[in-house]
Symmetry: C2
Subunit: 275 residues, 2 copies
């Protein structure tokens, strides 16, 4: 355990999303350490690199601890300046690209183009999926459910909306969501708007204490947030899932990323490539 | 240039988001090559690894081309099985973790926890931001603009909604968006609902041909999608940005990731750490 937080920088000449995503995964392997992270995107000239490098040096001197720099600068000239920083400089590209160049018998030429260039077809699919998710949130526009790739169902606050948005933004998947109401719960059948689409339904559920906590934060001391009501609703939807053989997951311990990845896998959904 | 597409696999015992993000960045360095990518998440037992490994071997035999496997399996036992696949196996963790362990004088213990464990505070911030973005899309609920971290303005289809959603989902930033209407354009001043928040405004604009294309796809041959109307609107908002000294960017060539990263940088926004 460190006395102070170790400073960690994610640098890139682009958005720095790759450096940050990889970096956060690496830091997660050291749960007993405390890190303070800084994401610095668009460091795309030697001058900008020097400014950031100076700042990291100062910061390391102040903290009396070597900072960590994770840098996906694909331009070797810029990378060379970064490596002069007084820090543990990690260059994932530098260690991997030569092996890929060797396999592909190719020199790479266009540094930092990921998350930047816009492929129009992919862009359109993504925007269409976002439009779809926005228009089909929370039981809206059930008459166009036939266009959905997937329809999430579940009680209020089980994670439907964030999952639909993530599926759209990250994967270009058209996801609708339909909240199971008390009226729906009192019936043996599936709610009428989703009934024609049984094979596209996917159920979310969550732990009782978690649901109570989330609902209490939003409507304190309401019937909606009461233990009794939450228990009733969760039991009712879980019975509904079992009765109608609807695939479902408990989202309590899951991030939006994990929920979405499982939905894609469990339903064999086709997704666009990331930009 | 390859005759057939090179097969590329992103494997992980978790969501595989890290493997995929890093992998796509690496592939983007080889724009002259064609790749077919496969993301395989939750490969978390030796049996599952073997099944995937067999599939990759078969696929490589059929294509008569060595596949590429990018694998962020943090569990060394699972990784060992992956490395026996007939492929160029890239293990970014394997090359980096030892250096970090050395610096931190620590053994890592919790493989694959990123994108999985849910920090409650971060989770709440993120969900609050998503709720905020959904409620404050397209000029809704302007009476609670005081809670916004940022308010995006621009003409219809300049990228406001996807950017707000991405800022919320990825960074926990509360972003509202307000569409500049024709009525707003005819006035010299800023639209009344955003006027008290000048320092939180950020303008989006786009290229004329791009706007026409996007609008035509949605409402073909409408006044809304006409060259004349699009030109008028873009000129009007750009003049508005200049007149009122509002920071702005042209989103035409940018992915949602890049727009969001620039908004954060240009406005010095505070963001949550990724899960």
């Amino acid at each position: 355990m460190q006395a102070s937080k170790r400073q960690v920088y994610f640098l890139s000449n682009g958005t720095a999303i790759t450096a940050e995503t990889l970096g956060m995964s690496l830091l997660a392997q050291f749960p007993d350490h405390h890190f303070e992270t800084h994401t610095v995107p668009f460091v795309d000239t030697p001058e900008k690199v020097r400014v950031v490098s100076d700042e990291i040096n100062r910061c390391g001197d102040d903290a009396k601890q070597l900072p960590i720099v994770i840098c996906t600068m694909a331009d070797p000239d810029l990378m060379k300046i970064v490596t002069q920083t007084k820090a543990l400089v990690i260059d994932p590209f530098g260690e991997i690209l030569p092996r890929m160049e060797n396999l592909l018998a190719s020199q790479h030429h266009q540094p930092g183009q990921s998350h930047r260039t816009v492929n129009q077809t992919i862009y359109e699919s993504r925007i269409d999926a976002i439009d779809y998710a926005m228009a089909h949130d929370d039981g809206s526009r059930t008459q166009t459910y036939d266009q959905a790739d997937i329809i999430l169902i579940g009680v209020s606050r089980s994670g439907k909306t964030p999952s639909c948005l993530f599926l759209a933004l990250q994967f270009g998947i058209k996801a609708a969501n339909y909240p199971i109401t008390e009226e729906d719960m009192e019936s043996e059948g599936l709610p009428e708007p989703v009934r024609p689409f049984t094979e596209r339904l996917y159920g979310l559920t969550t732990d009782l204490d978690r649901l109570v906590t989330i609902r209490q934060a939003r409507r304190p001391n309401s019937r909606y947030a009461s233990l009794k009501q939450c228990r009733y609703e969760l039991r009712a939807v879980e019975q509904m899932y079992l009765r109608h053989h609807i695939n479902h997951i408990n989202t309590s311990q899951m991030s939006v990323e994990e929920i979405s990845a499982r939905i894609i896998r469990d339903n064999g959904l086709h997704r666009i490539e990331l930009p």
